[in-house]
Symmetry: C2
Subunit: 757 residues, 2 copies
């Protein structure tokens, strides 16, 4: 754990600058606007250790993976989130000294992310020979004018005289940090000094993956007036220079406006014109006016989604930071996009889409965004079915296999133990259809496009199981469960359970599907009978003596001992132990059996939940960012309040407190919903299965009260709980019967319903 | 199966040239002299598809493996057998047309490897405009003057007049075919036109692996006289050109002499002088004289090791080809070397040493070479113990873990499922100490250096097992057995059995070790007691109902069905099936349980052997080159003569008949001993445990008779069997009691003992 930013309900601020925490600081000050984003790099450059990172949604490169021992069925390429051309650069020299916080003298450092609107500010006082200069930077990515980035720097000479040289840059000579053999992925397609643009294209590839062309345009303003410096260009680079002389007490404001267009939206030969038009639009308003527009939109988002926690500022800050980062990554505007594990905050893991979206993001987005946002995420998978069919075929299997990692539906992760073994995703992803239908009550998706998904994935499972004569049961061999600290195991309880759930749900929904969908999927009676046979006879390992489900065959053959027996200096084990030791150990990375109990929550008794929680949680090291939230929710349900709160704190402040010592690589975007789920599904006990909205709230001892908002079937509901009472307010929408602590209550528009605790 | 060379007892000859079989042809015409070797590439060059390959023993490069998902305990680098500078080049043009068999008209093609002495010959008649020219090439690598390669080309103009331009080359601009990102590993260290040398060095690396410097020197002779053409050089390249004009009926002989010295033996700054001296030595004799010297040494080798088979020329050719290729790869001259899976015939797999050496080569070399050759192979491992300690430490384990693949003792294979899971090698490698001691009766190794190996590996196993409270037994999780079509399994019977064997053998030998060794290894009573407890209580999975040992936990949970149920067009499965399908299938790559029964042959009853053979062999696809020989030997023992012969044919002609459709990549050097073992341990039933040499021969129906020779404890013995009698001749050495078909016989020097069948 490491906390480098101060506690504040609406700000992430530090007054310290430590070179060794530079990367961590950069991750935590990343900003985005669903279209693009960047780490908290410094505009003026920085010569010390740093991860320079700018990312454009949906812009990627298929990096070859055939290095080493390639086998049939392994993916051909590893899809890399590309480090995109950097456009924030404003090089500065003061009386000939280059401003570089790794080298110069400075004081009064402040770096702050305002969570109301994703505005990044930074200030410090530079001290040179006989001169003191205050620098104040502000930066945001426009939330409605997506292609626009706005940067402002205000320079005030506190003492002495200063000649300031500016060098505003666009730089396409960037490279991914994990680039093999320092390969560059961008090539220049021309620079235009007069227009202040550079155009770059991704390299050719042999995988028929479309190439991307990106045009970047910059323009400088002072006091609202465009100013023109001396422009020089080099391959994929542009530099605009000018100087000002400032006397003691004088100030100078410089605004850098940037437009970024990509071939995802604009054809390469139309990009120059389009960027010029967008720049005109941007510059029709001042920095302050643009910021006001931007902030207004953020205010609307917060109005529908803010979670208020009183009495614990750290918890309050954590949940807001997570909501902000999620919304800066994805707000459903572009159906071709999804939510990558690092969003716009780093390049590790590659890929755009994991099962995280369906398992952890959708349950939150269902409640805090309009249904169409979730439906866009469902549609994304439907649109990628051709890729999923391809993936199954690569393994010699029928039906469709959704990828573990992808940009376009085709698997692009290059570890076999994940690629074709961590296949539980192929039930978890369809499970989101169930979640959507269940929560919204809208069955139009599952009746139509959703049925294509259900049948395609069911066909995969029906081929992937085999019948064991030895057990007289259907079994599933060679998988990796959600607990990735086991590989190539047989009969993972979670996988078998979810496969069974999928077949059952498909059989149940199929007769209700539209005629067109039924004709399209064309499931024969024989096929249905086979699916039913698997549902009836699939092997689900358990230990009757202990009364628990078994994570996998022979799990008890391990050297079972609690994670608390691991010496502290060996945690996290994935940074201290060999992979061999981890694989053989009994220690669990993230919820596995418990993930299944979480998903199919209404199928298990409290006693079953309790026995499994008490057996598996002590073995769990929670080294996946996706672990704590599930444990928090189950702990809440089981009345283990203290544990529930501990797990909440971990999920809420995973990055802010760098719990897993890996936030330097970027934020854990897809697990950020976990803190929201821990509050709403955990502390407030919200459930929505069987068309019934239920709550069973408690308030953490250290909190005074908390509140949250959800939209539910056209309604906006506010939930509130303190140590004395529970209040539900139907802000908008038709009346609704809900259950609170087993009591039925009717909510009416504009009214608040109370329940004394 | 594909047979492109003709059947002949002492030659591998073809009269056909097919561009599509070029690579296969190159593999089968590879030659070597333990110091260096090369594929059967054409001297004049070839523009079609070809794998140009020259290899120098012990010269390698640590290629980085941190591409993709690196985890703790994975090796830092992948050791690559380097494609070395090519020195065979003699470019030829005839009246301006470049001689290139991919393009020119030619007839009467003959390509032949003489197995008496590893002499490669090639001839053909070129037909150009108004000219016919016969070309005859000969090439060999000198068996005593190791650094020398000799090439001769004889040109005869059959019709017309021919201007012949020669271009003799040395070329260090070579690259490994699997080089990542086309990386070159060699850099020029200067060319010397006058001395006709190039010097190259391997690139720097970050792994502290020594760099290699290689100097190549060429010289041309005509009729024994040195001739000097025009020399030009480029970076890492040298070219010597001259021309001759030949009239119809005229001939011209050109000899290219090459010396190759490396920094393994000669310091870089002494290489020029050394190469000059060696060239002088070479050129003190003519091509014919050098060839005669070379052949004489080969004759002596064959005298001690030839296997004669009458009545089956294909079988005869197969065994000789294998013996030749093995001896061309390794004959124990350099203790720093070992036997790589492809020898000098290709670059696939990388590395110099696998467990193949101990498991498959040593049992043959013990019998056909002097004991010091085997002892050198044992010593090789002892000398690499520091690397083995390093490997165990990387996994967080005690003791020493011999590498799966290495050049220097440090693991350099980059698949985790092999690297730290296929650990059975760590018992198989010490098992060679037992084999050596058992066969030679010489216990001086096991008492001294051998004890270091036994204790170091025993300590590894004692830490690698864990106690399962559930089974109340010691278990071994997370391994890959010899059957690499399973990964990360628990309680592989072979692994558990061999680990148990090792601990038992170490405990047994320890009290008899030298005092120095005992003091060095310093095994406490507590440690011994722990080892004994593991020996007594290790879990060895079996199915009592079927009466078989279980390859691993839950093996019977698979979809058990015979390999014969796989459609023929899907064989070999590793070229047709996804890795997922292979892993989940019941099909076995190579002997696993049966490998253990082969190793510890005296511990199991005939009934146990039979039940396991009958269960596992039908599941085995024999897609490892190491599979057939073990099955042949066991089939012989079980009286399954037809199967024994079938398996023999497959191991004997694996490459000649390209059974596994992968000989294009190079020969399966380390499995070539299998055919010898199938005859001597299989057909002749030789056993040597318990200080007793025994035979139990039969003769394949299709053979007339066969004979072989073995050295045994200072004696040279010839074994012979036909359909009527068995003859044993003690060619040299003290009298010896042997057992033949349960009869005790005394062998006396110079006498032949007969037993009628």
């Amino acid at each position: 754990m490491k906390r480098i930013f101060e506690i504040d309900p609406w700000k992430v601020t530090t007054h310290k600058f430590s070179t060794e925490d530079k990367r961590l600081q950069e991750s935590l000050t990343a900003i985005g606007n669903d279209y693009m984003g960047m780490r908290g790099n410094f505009e003026e450059g920085y010569s010390g250790d740093s991860l320079q990172g700018t990312y454009l949604a949906g812009v990627w490169f298929p990096d070859k993976t055939r290095v080493g021992w390639w086998k049939n069925g392994y993916p051909e390429y590893f899809g890399k989130s590309l480090n995109a051309p950097s456009f924030i650069g404003i090089g500065i020299t003061i009386n000939g000294e280059k401003l570089d916080l790794a080298k110069v003298n400075f004081s009064d450092f402040t770096f702050s992310l305002d969570m109301h609107q994703g505005l990044l500010s930074r200030s410090f006082i530079y001290e040179g020979k006989g001169v003191k200069v205050k620098f104040e930077f502000e930066r945001f990515l426009h939330i409605t004018l997506k292609e626009a980035a706005l940067i402002q720097v205000k320079i005030t000479v506190l003492s002495g005289n200063a000649k300031i040289d500016f060098d505003s840059t666009l730089d396409g000579t960037v490279v991914n940090e994990d680039s093999n053999y320092d390969e560059h992925f961008w090539i220049s397609r021309g620079e235009n000094a007069a227009a202040r643009t550079i155009k770059v294209e991704t390299k050719a590839n042999t995988y028929k993956v479309p190439r991307f062309t990106v045009l970047l345009k910059e323009s400088l303003r002072h006091n609202g007036q465009i100013i023109r410096g001396d422009v020089t260009t080099d391959k994929a680079k542009l530099s605009e220079k000018f100087s000002v002389n400032l006397h003691e007490g004088e100030s100078y404001d410089l605004e850098k406006d940037v437009i970024v267009v990509t071939s995802r939206d604009v054809k390469p030969d139309e990009q120059d014109e389009k960027a010029a038009a967008l720049m005109k639009k941007l510059q029709a308003k001042s920095f302050a006016e643009n910021l006001a527009d931007h902030t207004a939109v953020w205010q609307k988002r917060w109005d529908k989604s803010d979670v208020v926690i009183a009495g614990d500022a750290a918890a309050q800050q954590g949940i807001r930071f997570n909501i902000l980062q999620l919304f800066m990554t994805y707000y459903g505007e572009d159906k071709r996009l999804n939510i990558g594990p690092k969003g716009f905050t780093g390049e590790k893991y590659g890929g755009a889409t994991y099962w995280d979206t369906e398992a952890y993001i959708i349950p939150m987005y269902l409640c805090v965004t309009k249904p169409k946002v979730t439906r866009a995420l469902l549609q994304y998978r439907h649109d990628q079915l051709p890729g999923a069919y391809h993936n199954a075929k690569q393994q010699g299997l029928k039906g469709a296999l959704f990828p573990m990692v992808t940009f376009n539906g085709i698997e692009c992760h290059n570890e076999w133990e994940i690629t074709f073994e961590e296949i539980h995703r192929n039930a978890d992803i369809p499970f989101a259809i169930y979640q959507y239908t269940n929560y919204t009550g809208d069955d139009s998706y599952v009746k139509n496009d959703g049925m294509d998904v259900l049948v395609a994935t069911s066909r995969f499972w029906a081929d992937r199981v085999h019948f064991s004569k030895w057990r007289n049961k259907y079994v599933i061999h060679g998988v990796t469960g959600p607990n990735e600290y086991e590989n190539n195991v047989n009969n993972n309880w979670f996988t078998n359970t979810m496969a069974r759930w999928l077949l059952q749900y498909t059989l149940e929904r199929l007769p209700k599907a539209s005629k067109e969908a039924q004709a399209r999927v064309n499931v024969s009676d024989k096929e249905k009978a086979k699916w039913q046979d698997i549902v009836d006879n699939i092997y689900l390992p358990e230990d009757k003596k202990l009364g628990i489900f078994l994570q996998q065959d022979d799990f008890l053959d391990k050297d079972i001992r609690p994670a608390s027996s691991i010496p502290k200096d060996q945690r996290p084990i994935n940074q201290h132990w060999s992979w061999d030791r981890i694989l053989r150990s009994p220690f669990i990375k993230q919820a596995d059996v418990l993930q299944g109990i979480y998903f199919l929550n209404d199928r298990y008794t409290k006693e079953e939940k309790e026995r499994n929680f008490d057996f598996y949680e002590p073995l769990t090291v929670h080294e996946s960012s996706l672990s704590s939230c599930i444990h928090s929710i189950l702990a809440s349900e089981l009345g283990k309040k203290k544990q529930a709160v501990n797990f909440y704190e971990r999920t809420a402040r995973l990055d802010l407190d760098n719990y897993n010592n890996d936030t330097v690589d970027g934020l854990h975007i897809t697990s950020m919903s976990g803190s929201w789920l821990a509050i709403v599904q955990g502390f407030s006990g919200m459930r929505y299965d069987h068309n019934q909205l239920r709550f069973n709230p408690f308030v953490p001892d250290s909190w005074d009260h908390y509140s949250f908002k959800i939209n539910y079937r056209g309604r906006l509901i506010k939930g509130y709980a303190d140590h004395k009472e529970i209040k539900l307010t139907l802000i908008k929408g038709e009346k609704l019967m809900v259950t609170v602590k087993d009591k039925k209550l009717e909510l009416k528009e504009g009214e608040t319903t109370c329940l004394k605790d």
